[in-house]
């Protein structure tokens, strides 16, 4: 059964400051409204891309979003910063209204946009449970019935009659999450709550979320950057980009789509060249990758020097999609230092068996040049990326997933 249905949701924001120009726009809009005409500023407005320069005063944070949620479903909403996730949640939780379109719902929506909303520092933990619960839409009787359960879950029994201002920030979050987790709305909207608290509490929180969705059959809309949490909680997900839905489907596919999508953008970062250090008169002009043989690659860096430089070292770092360094080649390993003549030189980083050593996915490289043991001259971060195709590791027709089998393909055997 469809419990929530969003139709053509768009949200427009005005850029810049509120000033005298705002009054004239307001008047124009009001005049159009009086004559029964459409808002003249709805026609303008650019796609929401943070990095490009705006050529319009208006921007579409969301544009024609459509989706349906079934009862008992946990829908994940993923996307980069500024993709429109929070705007969508704000509309869903009725904090603001869409510029066009409508959302219809068959159940009460409660949101957990940020825990601790409305906590008053002077009130005790217990008083805040009531206040916060009521803000989130519970009646006093409902809270009273759950009071002990909330206190137990938060693990703050001892401090419950102490003003919240004396709490550690972790305790405040625990208490706030406990209140919110015991809400019983038909649809629960959650944004990034799991980013808080210690490891133990995060685990508890994810467990509770799972109980809510799986055990109680509650409908949940979940927004997070934590792909592991999304994967473990959601049955379906949508991917937002620049305010538009770019993918809708199974969670695993959506997460893959999101990660790869995020990566293709990183991959085309050649616009950061040239990188220059004027003190040394050295420039990284360009970088490219050459595939060698079956399984090895060579990263080639074009360097231009204005003067002769002696005794410098180059290095490379290999990072996975999570920005975690998984390997490197440094002068310490190779023992090489170079003398650069004036003019262009080509530095080759030979990565042996790169394609077979790592499993399928996207990888990025940092390259740097330094005076050994002295100082960094140029550090180029994520200057180029490389996609290793997914591998049919077990020859079963199923492609190897790095999340399941790890990033490194171990060499070794199992014998009996």
């Amino acid at each position: 059964m469809v419990i929530l249905k969003a139709k053509n949701i768009s949200k427009q924001y005005r850029l810049g400051l509120v000033g005298t120009g705002t009054i004239s726009h307001d008047l124009n809009r009001w005049w159009a409204g009086i004559r029964g005409k459409e808002d003249p500023y709805l026609k303008v407005g650019a796609v929401n891309d943070r990095s490009t320069k705006a050529d319009s005063d208006y921007v579409w944070a969301l544009r024609d979003i459509n989706f349906e949620v079934n009862k008992g479903e946990v829908l994940g909403i993923i996307g980069k910063n500024g993709a429109g996730k929070s705007t969508l949640l704000k509309i869903l939780s009725r904090v603001t209204i869409p510029t066009t379109g409508e959302i219809k719902t068959k159940g009460r929506i409660a949101s957990l946009l940020e825990v601790g909303t409305g906590f008053h520092p002077e009130l005790t933990g217990r008083e805040n449970i009531y206040l916060n619960g009521a803000i989130l839409g519970m009646t006093k009787a409902e809270i009273k019935a759950k009071e002990q359960e909330i206190i137990d879950f938060s693990g703050c029994e001892r401090y419950v009659d102490t003003p919240v201002k004396r709490y550690s920030s972790g305790m405040t979050v625990r208490l706030a999450f406990a209140v919110a987790a015991h809400l019983e709305p038909d649809i629960l909207v959650i944004d990034e709550v799991l980013a808080v608290g210690d490891a133990e509490f995060q685990k508890k929180a994810i467990g509770k979320m799972q109980d809510i969705s799986k055990g109680d059959g509650r409908t949940v809309l979940f927004v997070s950057h934590n792909m592991a949490a999304v994967k473990s909680l959601c049955s379906r997900a949508i991917v937002l980009e620049h305010g538009k839905t770019v993918f809708e489907g199974e969670t695993d596919d959506a997460v893959d789509f999101y990660l790869e999508n995020a990566n293709t953008i990183l991959k085309s970062r050649t616009n950061i060249f040239p990188l220059e250090n004027t003190n040394y008169g050295i420039i990284f002009k360009n970088i490219f990758i050459k595939e060698i043989e079956q399984s090895s690659i060579c990263v080639k860096l074009l360097v231009d020097t204005k003067l002769e430089i002696k005794n410098i070292g180059f290095g490379i770092k290999i990072k996975d999609f999570n920005d975690i360094v998984i390997g490197s080649i440094t002068p310490a390993i190779t023992g090489e230092s170079f003398n650069l003549k004036k003019g262009e030189s080509e530095i080759s980083f030979y990565l042996k068996n790169f394609l077979t050593l790592f499993s399928g996915g996207n990888y990025y490289f940092d390259v740097w040049v330094a005076k050994p043991k002295l100082e960094m001259i140029i550090y180029g971060e994520n200057v180029i990326g490389y996609v290793i195709p997914k591998k049919d590791r077990f020859s079963t027709g199923v492609f190897h997933e790095r999340n399941k089998h790890g990033i490194i393909n171990m060499e070794g055997t199992i014998t009996m």
């Binding site: 307001d26 704000k90 939780s93 409508e102 068959k106 009130l123 803000i135 009646t139």
Partner: protein
Amino acid sequence: MSKIDDDAWLYTISSKRKLIDFNFKEIWHYRDLLMLFVKRDVVTVYKQTVLGPLWYLIQPLFTALTFTLIFNKVANIETGTVPPFLFNLAGVSIWNYFNTCLSSTSDTFKTNAAIFGKVYFPRIIVPLSIVISNLMKFSIQLLIFIAFYIYYYMNGAAIHINNSILFFPVIVMLMGLLGLGSGMIISSLVTKYRDLKFLVGFGVQLLMYVSAVMYPLALMREKLPKIAWIVEYNPLAYIIETARYMLLGTGTLSLFGIIYTISVTLLVLVFGIIIFNRTEKTFIDTV
């Protein structure tokens, strides 16, 4: 989708706005929140102070004392048979109720932006809770007024309560609603244009002087007949004058004034609700 299915939707979040979107059922659902807000406002204001709720009494007492010294002793304003201090205490207490209602509600959206930006509940709960919690403070101030009233009565001052005192709660309610209505209008406009905040700051102060707080309405008519109309068209002046008539038996009771005040209050209130409703939907984008 069939028609029957369409009716099953609980509510719709849409870009379309109704002129008056006042959902009593929803507000009723949030009644506990209203009471908790009131409790929070009353309890937390004077936490970690030595005198605590006594501060509620100190403010009007000292204001009334100052007014008595300056306006009655120095400037020789006549308050008839009523002791000037009692006259001023009545005016100041009632005026304060309006003043606090107006200035606190006019900040509703700005001070609550953080919480409004995260969860939905009927926004009107906040200004309502302010008016109610201020009513509590006003009741405490009324107690001190009664204490002084008895003191002066025992000492033979010519004051008497008449039957109209039964309508005193109505007058107080009018005062609260007028503060609520104008506060809601200002709070809605302030979200976009902060200029108004400055206007309210000193505007309220000026308003006090044309609201017959420290002088009887009749005195204004007598001394400054040319600009007395400013006071006469000010519903606040009628409320204060009427309240003083009820409590002290001084001043005039005018039927026109009461009807005029009620109409203005209702008008301001309805207009306030309309504009507040419009603002609450999108203010978070502009505040």
